[in-house]
Amino acid sequence: MLWHKAWMDTRWRFLTGGLVLLLSAMGTVFSFQLVAGSALSIGAVPQDGGLVSQAIREAVDLSRTFRGFVWLNAFSQNLTQLGVLFAVLLGSGGLRTEAAGTLYTLSLPFSRGALMSTRAATGLLELVALTMLPPLAIVALAPAVGERYPVVEALVHGMCLFAGTAVFFSLTFWLSTLFSDPWRPGLIAFGVATVIGLCESLLFRSVAWGLFHVTSAESYFRGAGVPWLGLLVAGAASAALLQRAIAAVERQDY
């Protein structure tokens, strides 16, 4: 029954997220030919060594192939950003911030650990679906534009996307035990994501275990293999945050 309740509480966020992420993946696939054609018509980008022209040059180069275009647009940008957005939304709304029914929930014959674990597990399962479906949709839709995308590659990207966004889910889940309103946990989590993203893109571009580096599976895309260390660190961070959230709720007065 707790699974059912957790699903009822989060289903609209999950379904909206699923729709938005799938539309994003579809948009990437079906815009490839248009963008690739433009990229091919662009001549050589001047090599002046600046960050901007370097980024433009790389974007043009990547957009010449379907694999590069999908990674650049979907995995390193849209799916990562949207994935973080919906991970935060799924992680918000804990026991404290339930609009109605907190005391009713607490009067049921379940331990707080069971209540929180079920909520966390439901949210993580929904996040698995949100992060695995878009890469698989890319695999399924690629033939429609005359391309192919390997299933294994899609699965690895989905796994990395899940591991990275799960950190923000867990962060929001934990923050929701500290605040009684539904807004602050989400805003703080977005703030943390923005700071990490800026630090990684401006200061630590080559750090292989950076959170967004792992989320976008950049090292895997560039042929360096699955970022196991980064996945492990992200998984450990998520587990620690979830454990803190459950421990916090077990001590709280309502």
């Binding site: 109605a100 001590r251 007065d253």
Partner: protein
């Protein structure tokens, strides 16, 4: 636990920061009773209820329900399995329909009473397809009661069950409570600051004030024992020197000495005569006056 007590609390305390919500509360609720837990707003009624159900941890003292410690998480689950609860806000799941909420709750309780469910859906005229969010205050209260009644609970804990209801619906709710106890083997512990409704249905009461139990007992016994003794003197009333047990409050106003007593009335009357009273009058006190005397005396 003593077999006869469903709830037993001794020296129960709860501090929120610098605020002392409960200050050594003693509470004993016998099995099968309708216990009215009376107190002003902020007296500690809701905090006590939340401690009993494991929603709040006590900072001192001990509490047991069905003989199980309330501050042990595993015991608390067992207590809640055997207890029906209605919160003051009638806190329910607004996102569900009435039928969905009943079905959800039924699945949480192995001893759910389908027969009672059907009976109360009919008698409360609950709209099964309506969203919980759309229900009126009265219908919401009836739904909350159904959800508490049908759990097959041995104990019903109701926090201000009639708050916000019009007198007709409030009376209907109280009648249903009495009827439920008459049919089922249930103990009811309900908090209220509505003296009339406690007077109407409770067989035992406890008056809590500033986190402490000021008076508890069988309501009929209290009615029997609680008396106001008014002694009139020829000149200004003298001070009462007695330290006789049972004196709750003494007031002197001109020639009149007024004593509120919980028992031991004969000794007080004798002392008044001894002090030279020209007339001594003993009157019974309604619950409202008992409550006001105790609370005002403390203030």
């Amino acid at each position: 636990m003593a077999d006869s007590h469903v709830i037993e609390c001794t020296g129960l305390s709860k501090q929120y920061g610098s605020r002392q919500a409960l200050d050594g509360l003693d509470l004993h609720v016998p099995k099968g009773s309708i216990f009215g837990f009376l107190g002003r707003n902020g007296a500690g009624k809701t905090t006590t209820i939340k401690i009993l159900l494991g929603m709040v941890s006590p900072t001192g003292g001990s509490g047991r329900v069905f003989g199980l410690p309330v501050d042990n998480p595993a015991s608390s689950v067992d207590i809640r399995r055997r207890t029906g609860f209605v919160s003051e806000e009638k806190d329910l799941y607004d996102g569900m329909s009435v039928a969905q909420l009943i079905d959800f709750t039924a699945r949480c309780y192995p001893r759910w009473r389908r027969d009672l469910q059907e009976q109360y859906v009919r008698s409360f005229e609950l709209p099964l397809d309506a969203g919980v969010k759309t229900l009126s205050r009265g219908t919401r209260t009836k739904l909350a009661l159904l959800l508490a009644f049908c759990r097959g609970a041995e104990l019903l804990v109701l926090d201000e069950p009639t708050s916000g209801l019009d007198p007709v619906v409030a009376d209907e709710v109280l009648q249903q409570l009495v009827g439920h106890v008459a049919r089922e083997d249930t103990t009811i512990f309900f908090s209220s600051h509505q003296l009339a409704e406690i007077d109407q249905i409770a067989d035992r009461i406890g008056i809590v004030h500033r986190g402490r139990m000021m008076l508890a007992g069988v309501l009929d016994d209290l009615r029997q024992d609680f008396r106001r003794v008014q002694a009139v003197f020829e000149h200004d009333a003298p001070a009462l020197t007695s330290s006789a047990p049972g004196i709750v409050r003494v007031r002197r106003q001109g020639r009149v000495l007024s004593v509120t007593a919980n028992g031991n009335v004969d000794a007080i009357v004798a002392e008044a005569h001894g002090l030279g009273a020209v007339a001594v009058d003993v009157t019974a006190m309604p619950l409202k006056d008992m409550f006001l005397e105790i609370v005002a005396g403390e203030n």
